[in-house]
């Protein structure tokens, strides 16, 4: 395991003890930081950065907002959103040419809730075209670049979200996760990423990719930060009837307490042919040891058939995405990037009966998965996020379309099965590979088991400092 030669601890805004969302919020709340000064500082940093974080800054709106933000739990905290979250009267282009110039008619519920908590939204972030690449590839906007090394991929599809948080431009970013699109850029950029349980956070006002799998998620420096973000955004929404009606929960409560006696994690027995490099296996083993040191007991379980679950995810995603895009595929096929159009066209070939079968299988396979890997007394299953070290852009784009697509499939092997099951997952920075790039792992929880995941993640981050490293 090698730390990047230029890695430093995360730089904090002046007045804040560290760069985390919660520390910054505390400094803003007690007046050590000015919301207006912080907003202007971060906007200027974003303009200077020259990277691939933002596609549009909300300079005037954010500055005005900072002056009038409500004194909630996120008062004055700079955030940003993947460019698929609607804000009424503002552009929302989904990284695409198809939606260039589209002005949203309403504000996404999750953005409205962050506004109500006092957050200051600095703007819209780079993303894969229609959220359809796990690497950060975008034929329309250009490829995203990893802030640790511009030659390497930033992960996707919430590529700008990972870049903006890792670069310290914002304290948190909204992403969406349909097959790994929060967890991949989080692990690849060295930040923390939470994909909540499906239907726990409203998707109203969010451009759909696959409504049965889409999940709003968060990227932030730490697990505690993700806990606060989930606390202010989760819950029933009359504008999203699919959203669970659960009572409000404070996910930060008790997060500092030691793990309860008997807290157990499950670790899969990875066969030699499982798609995980030696480096990834070593980092995973290190993470398990840190969790053990934090007080968790470790239980070995067989590796479930993630390839099969992943195929079911691809079937559901393909059919639903083709339905969402059907009219544009017919009327404006030339306005898609070739790779995205081809992947969407595949969805047209799935018979309706097989799609319904895949949906009928979900509860059956979910129950079996829980029985095997997450029985009642186990809080989390530990899995890799990426099968290997972060690749270069050239390594992921070389070869034929079929080869590129096969590589994409491998890239999200460890993540997309979890979307099919609808389970929550927390991606945590877990060290560095020999190429100097960050890597991470995920804790997968039981349905609505976010509190346990966040507590485990926080305890892990008390044992390690990977989440405090940032590119120099």
């Amino acid at each position: 395991m090698t730390a990047h030669p230029h890695a430093t601890r995360r730089a904090a805004p002046e007045g804040a003890p560290d760069a985390s969302l919660t520390a910054t919020a505390a400094a803003l709340a007690d007046g050590r930081l000015s919301a207006i000064a912080l907003t202007q500082d971060r906007l200027s940093a974003a303009e200077r950065s020259g990277g691939t974080a933002f596609v549009r800054l909300r300079r005037e709106q954010a500055t005005a907002r900072a002056a009038a933000a409500p004194r909630g739990p996120l008062y004055g905290v700079p955030i940003a959103h993947k460019d698929m979250f609607h804000r009424q009267g503002e552009a929302s282009e989904c990284g695409s040419r198809i939606l260039r110039g589209y002005v949203a008619p309403e504000t996404a519920t999750v953005l409205a809730r962050l506004d109500a908590a006092g957050a200051v939204d600095l703007g819209a972030l780079h993303m894969a075209e229609f959220a359809m690449s796990p690497t950060g590839f975008n034929a329309q906007l250009g490829h995203g670049h990893n802030p640790w090394s511009a030659e390497h991929v930033p992960g996707g599809s919430s590529s700008g979200s990972g870049v903006a948080v890792a670069s310290g431009l914002v304290c948190a970013a909204l992403g969406s996760d349909t097959g790994g699109s929060v967890r991949l850029p989080a692990a690849i950029c060295g930040v923390t990423g939470l994909k909540p349980t499906q239907h726990r956070v409203s998707v109203h006002g969010v451009m759909p990719l696959s409504p049965s799998l889409d999940c709003v998620g968060f990227l932030a420096p730490s697990a505690r930060d993700c806990a606060r973000l989930l606390s202010v955004t989760a819950g029933a929404d009359p504008l999203d009837p699919s959203c669970m009606n659960l009572p409000p929960e404070d996910f930060e409560a008790g997060i500092d307490q030691a793990l309860a006696r008997g807290t157990a994690i499950a670790v899969p027995d990875l066969p030699a042919d499982a798609p995980a490099s030696d480096e990834v296996r070593r980092l995973l083993a290190d993470a398990v040891e840190s969790l053990r040191a934090a007080g968790a007991t470790v239980r070995t379980v067989p590796l479930p058939d993630l390839a099969e679950l992943g195929a079911l995810c691809s079937l559901v995603l393909g059919a639903e995405a083709a339905s969402v895009h059907r009219r544009w595929l017919a009327e404006r096929p030339g306005d898609y990037g070739d790779q995205v159009r081809r992947r969407l066209e595949r969805g047209l070939l799935y018979p309706a009966v097989r799609y319904v079968d895949a949906l009928r299988l979900r509860p059956v396979l979910l129950r079996r998965f829980l029985q095997a890997c997450l029985p009642d007394d186990v809080q989390a299953l530990v899995l890799p996020v990426l099968p290997h070290a972060v690749p270069t852009i050239a390594e992921t784009t070389a070869g034929s379309e079929a080869e590129v697509e096969a590589r994409f499939g491998n890239f999200s092997f460890w993540t997309r099965a979890i979307n099919y099951l609808g389970l929550p997952a927390l991606a945590l920075p877990g060290g560095f590979t020999a190429n100097g790039l960050p890597n991470g792992f995920q804790l997968v929880g039981r349905p609505c088991g976010e509190a346990a995941l966040l507590r485990l993640g926080h305890r892990y981050q008390q044992q390690t400092d990977w989440h405090l490293r940032r590119p120099a």
Partner: protein, 79 residues
């Protein structure tokens, strides 16, 4: 229509329609024909996905398996 290798399309063909037929269905669905190479790639990719999904369906599903809302299932299984 471009000929598509049968080996890539077994699962599609097994449903009694050929891959070319499926591409025609897809074209009728969108009102626009797929390009020849796209037909071939899409059919091969779809066949791979359908093959794995079909193994699970044959093993797990019977006529009595209900189609349930995901949110209700997840909420029921939350402890």
């Amino acid at each position: 229509m471009t000929a598509i290798p049968n080996s890539a399309c077994d699962d599609l063909a097994a449903t009694s329609l050929s891959a070319q037929d499926w591409c025609a269905v897809a074209a009728a669905t969108t009102g626009a024909a797929l390009q020849a190479q796209a037909q071939s790639d899409a059919a091969a990719g779809a066949a791979r996905v359908l093959g794995a999904a079909d193994r699970a369906a044959r093993r797990e599903l019977d006529w009595n398996t209900a189609l349930l809302p995901a949110a209700a299932v997840l909420q029921e299984l939350a402890r």
